[in-house]
């Protein structure tokens, strides 16, 4: 009898949020639409899956990183921000939060995520824009693949490296600073690494986007780039160097806007975004490194790798380090 009572109580407890969830889905459906602003590769499959599951139109506005804050603050100030949900690197979300653009929401779908991924009940990290040494596996012999980041300073890589411009590209700047803080703990060693890298005369491009092309054509052999290109650019002969040190990257986060025109649809969208189902799509189709436990991109060895978030640098710090790197990397 007692057992039955417990069972009934448990069922009621389980049913209550379910009923609640049901009604919020109804409300979301009544709103009919969710507008999503982000800058991510191929999120269309996730948008489509959401649309198919709930019959709510999901609209994707892609804004490049350099225009993200400018656009959102302009629209926000004019009272014309149509976005319900925003996705961006953590520093961007933090800045938008400080301008009052982000609302509070903790999604039940983030229950299994690491603790650091949501500090304030507003911004939820769901992945890490992980950076690695990517090389051309047709042209680089297994024995030559770097085993530490410092191996990049070997003169054999002279004129063979491509990277985003360390004077201007925020992610690369943060990554180099992250190396100092997380991997190469001695300042002298870190500076030696930077000098050695500079001495190898790397070719600079504007951002990560153009880094894989010169590697796949063989114009360069190795680059500071992202493993996700192994997935998105398959069958290009790209692989990542399994260095003994951890991989690092800026966390990617998601949040709801303070004046979301479709608040229920926005919450439902965030719940779906953080679900295992959506995270699997992102990992498998776009090679994203996600925080949903046990979900990995289909890249050999990534499930064993240690991937850590780097500290968010303020824009002042990024500019300061950018100027410093500009000097170090000057020809």
């Amino acid at each position: 009898m007692k057992k039955i009572a417990v069972l009934v109580a448990m069922m009621m407890l389980a049913a209550a949020p379910c009923a609640f969830a049901q009604s919020s889905v109804e409300k979301a459906k009544a709103e009919g639409k969710v507008a999503f602003y982000a800058n991510m590769t191929s999120v269309e499959p996730v948008m489509e899956a959401f649309q198919n599951k709930y019959g709510i139109k999901a609209e994707y506005t892609r804004l490049s990183t350099s225009k993200f804050i400018a656009t959102i603050l302009t629209e926000h100030a004019a009272g014309k921000l149509t976005a319900d949900v925003l996705q961006a690197p953590i520093p961007v979300m933090e800045l938008l939060k400080s301008k009052g653009v982000i609302a509070s929401y903790v999604s039940p779908a983030a229950a299994g995520y690491p603790k650091w991924a949501n500090k304030d009940g507003m911004i939820q990290s769901f992945g890490i824009e992980y950076v690695a040494l990517i090389y051309n596996k047709d042209l680089v012999k297994a024995a030559d693949v770097p085993r530490t980041y410092q191996d990049l300073t070997d003169p054999k890589w002279k004129n063979k490296i491509v990277m985003a411009d360390p004077a201007t590209h925020p992610t690369t700047i943060s990554w180099l600073v992250g190396l100092r803080e997380n991997v190469i703990k001695s300042d002298a060693e870190w500076r030696a690494f930077l000098k050695g890298l500079a001495a190898n005369n790397p070719m600079f491009v504007a951002s990560f986007g153009p880094t894989p092309a010169p590697i796949e054509t063989g114009e360069k052999l190795i680059g500071i780039s992202m493993p996700k290109y192994i997935v998105t650019k398959a069958p290009a002969p790209l692989d990542w160097a399994r260095v003994s040190q951890p991989m690092m990257g800026t966390p990617r986060a998601i949040g709801i806007t303070a004046k979301a025109p479709h608040p229920n649809a926005a919450r439902l969208f965030v719940d779906f975004w953080l679900s295992r189902e959506a995270m699997k799509i992102m990992a498998e189709q776009v090679g994203e490194y996600v925080l949903a436990p046990g979900v990995y991109p289909p890249i050999a060895g990534i499930d064993k790798a240690k991937v850590i978030p780097i500290r968010e640098l303020s824009d002042d710090e990024i500019r300061k380090w950018g100027a410093e790197f500009k000097k170090i990397f000057a020809k």
Binding site: A35, N39, T41, S42, E44, E59, Y60, R62, S64, T65, S66, K67, F68, I69, A70, T71, L73, T74, E75, A77, A78, K80, T82, P89, P91, V92, L95, N159, D165, A167, T168, H169, P170, I173, M203, F204, V205, A206, S207, G209, P210, T211, P212, A213, P214, E216, T217, G218, E219, K220, Y229, T232, K233, P235, A236, D315, D316, I318, R319, G322
Partner: protein, 557 residues
């Protein structure tokens, strides 16, 4: 008459001023604002920071070399091609007309990438080929100022060509005949008569290319950055890109020097072509451009042009086509040819956003160019035929948003449009396009207008023709080549427009170039090339249609 023309001038100043001043005023506000947006407490800090940067002098020097070099390459090539095409009996004319326009239709970023694939010092295809010929160490390096000038010059060739060709074809034969009667050779006639009379067109082409290359971003970023050569546009990019909270006010402060340079050029241009009467070549007497017989030089010259076109224009397009067929960017070889397929084409043609972008770009290209030419027609008329202080103002106004580097002016338009109900509609794109690229419609038209003597209009009016009748029966038919050129420049520009679109396009108003940029940001060169080729096809179709219509119209009279 005086009254109508001054009312017309005032009206046009109001329209053009509204179109081009609004974004620029927002940018000026932003450059003096202490906030990230346009409205904040007044400060001059952004100017101080921008212009006390120690690297700035070197950047300015590279910028001057880059823009002047590109202008000279583009104008020189355009003169050569336009002369052969319009004034001589060289074979295969139609082909040259199209080939000199192709760079206008290619997304600039793709054209630049093609050249990197051809000429990078490590494994550029031409360099590999040279090495196979046994020319060791003959590595040509694209990542240099020379490389940048060459590629930008080629990309701007159509602008110069479309300004110069109409002027060339509306040439009064009697001038050259007089020269020859006096015993001058063909070459001397060309040097002493033809080129001086073409001065307004040549200067217009130089001005336009300088201003355009000043604002250009694709070549400086794809070719300049890897060579660590920074010009104004990449410098502005680095201001915007370093850090997450991009300060477009500061970028605008730097952009003001581009604006100042452009306005100086316009003033200079007006001064140099002040004695308008000097350049009139179509007066009332027998007007028919003569054809010069090249005789023995016909085929050798044809070969030169064909080779030039092949290396400079066809080869990069072939590279694009090749890239669209291979699964990833591979150096050509047995492996690459075995892996070829249509996968990127299928993906692009099945992508609903790409298809919508195709439709929107086509609508904007045709509709925008047509509206733009109507406005350009009246503006050009006032600039050339009224020539008062006010018309000078009008001319400078028309260049305002055109002379800002692309990344900056887009934000200016966003700051402006967000205050209006047009924000995030296709109308914002349409208006922004016309406002920014008005000089593309104006330049070919003004240089064509300059050559029509007012005697022609006066004769018609003496014979009882009203102003509208005179316009329709006398002026318009003579302007057809200029109108066609302007329409082509605008339409092909709008089909591949990126700077404004990337800021103003929203779900539902996607356009081709933005879709292409997304593929570029994700490094998906195959899809990028496929969509780029589709874009080239569309533009080619537009150019052919415009040419056919123009030919019909000018034959009718």
């Amino acid at each position: 008459m005086q009254k109508t023309s001054s009312a017309l001038t005032t009206g046009l100043i109001a329209i053009v001023g509204f179109l081009t001043l609004c974004p620029v005023v927002m940018l000026v506000l932003g450059s003096f604002s202490s906030e990230l947006g346009a409205f904040g407490a007044f400060t001059v800090e952004k100017y101080v920071a921008a212009y006390t940067d120690p690297a700035f002098a070197e950047i300015l020097l590279s910028t001057v070399i880059f823009t002047l070099g590109s202008a000279i390459v583009a104008t020189g090539l355009a003169l050569f091609l336009a002369y052969l095409n319009t004034r001589t009996n060289i074979p295969g004319k139609f082909m040259f007309g199209v080939i000199s326009l192709i760079p206008m239709m290619v997304p600039h970023i793709l054209f630049a990438v093609s050249w990197v694939l051809l000429l990078n010092p490590s494994n550029g295809m031409i360099n590999l080929f040279l090495r196979q010929l046994g020319i060791e160490g003959a590595a040509l390096n694209i990542y240099t100022l020379t490389g940048m000038i060459l590629v930008e010059g080629l990309l701007d060739l159509p602008i110069a060509y479309l300004v110069i060709a109409p002027a060339m074809s509306a040439f009064d034969v009697s001038l050259e005949e007089s020269s020859r009667v006096c015993g001058a050779s063909n070459w001397r006639t060309l040097r002493r008569v033809t080129l001086p009379v073409l001065r307004p067109a040549i200067l217009a082409a130089l001005t336009l290319v300088i201003v355009r290359s000043l604002a250009s971003f694709a070549v400086p970023s794809v070719i300049g950055m890897p060579g660590r050569i920074y010009v104004l546009a990449t410098h502005i990019y680095s201001i915007v890109a370093t850090g997450y909270a991009a300060d477009y006010g500061m970028a605008a402060a730097v952009g003001m020097s581009a604006l100042a340079a452009s306005i100086t050029l316009i003033v200079l241009y007006r001064r140099l072509t002040r004695e308008g009467e000097k350049y009139v070549t179509i007066s009332s007497r027998g007007y028919r451009p003569s054809v010069i017989d090249l005789k023995g030089a016909r085929y050798p010259l044809f070969a030169v042009v064909a080779l030039l076109s092949f290396v400079l224009i066809v080869l990069p397009i072939l590279v694009l086509f090749y890239t669209s067929l291979v699964p990833y960017v591979m150096t050509p070889g047995a492996k690459a040819f075995a892996a070829m397929g249509l996968r990127h084409w299928v993906t692009v043609l099945r992508d609903p956003v790409s298809l919508l972008a195709l439709k929107n770009s086509l609508t904007l290209g045709i509709g925008g160019a047509t509206l733009g030419m109507i406005l350009s027609f009246f503006v050009a008329y006032v600039i050339v035929k009224v020539r008062t202080k006010a018309s000078g103002l009008l001319e400078s106004l028309s260049f305002l948003s055109f002379s800002f580097p692309g990344i900056v002016v887009g934000v200016g338009f966003m700051w402006f449009f967000v205050q209006t109900p047009l924000y995030s509609t296709i109308w914002a794109l349409l208006i922004g396009y016309i406002a920014t690229y008005l000089p593309y419609g104006l330049r070919p038209l003004t240089s064509a207008f300059v050559q029509i003597h007012s005697h022609l209009e006066e004769s018609s009016r003496v014979c009882g023709g009203g102003p509208l009748y005179t316009m329709r029966r006398i002026v318009l038919p003579l302007l057809v080549p200029g109108i066609a050129s302007g329409w082509i420049l605008m339409a092909t520009m709008f089909v591949r427009e990126l700077s404004l679109s990337v800021v103003l396009s929203r779900p539902g108003t996607e356009v081709l170039a933005v879709q292409i940029l997304r593929f570029a940001e994700d490094g998906l060169w195959g899809r990028l090339s496929a969509l780029g080729i589709i874009m080239i096809f569309i533009s080619t179709a537009l150019v052919i249609i415009a040419n056919v219509i123009a030919r019909k119209l000018s034959k009718r009279d």
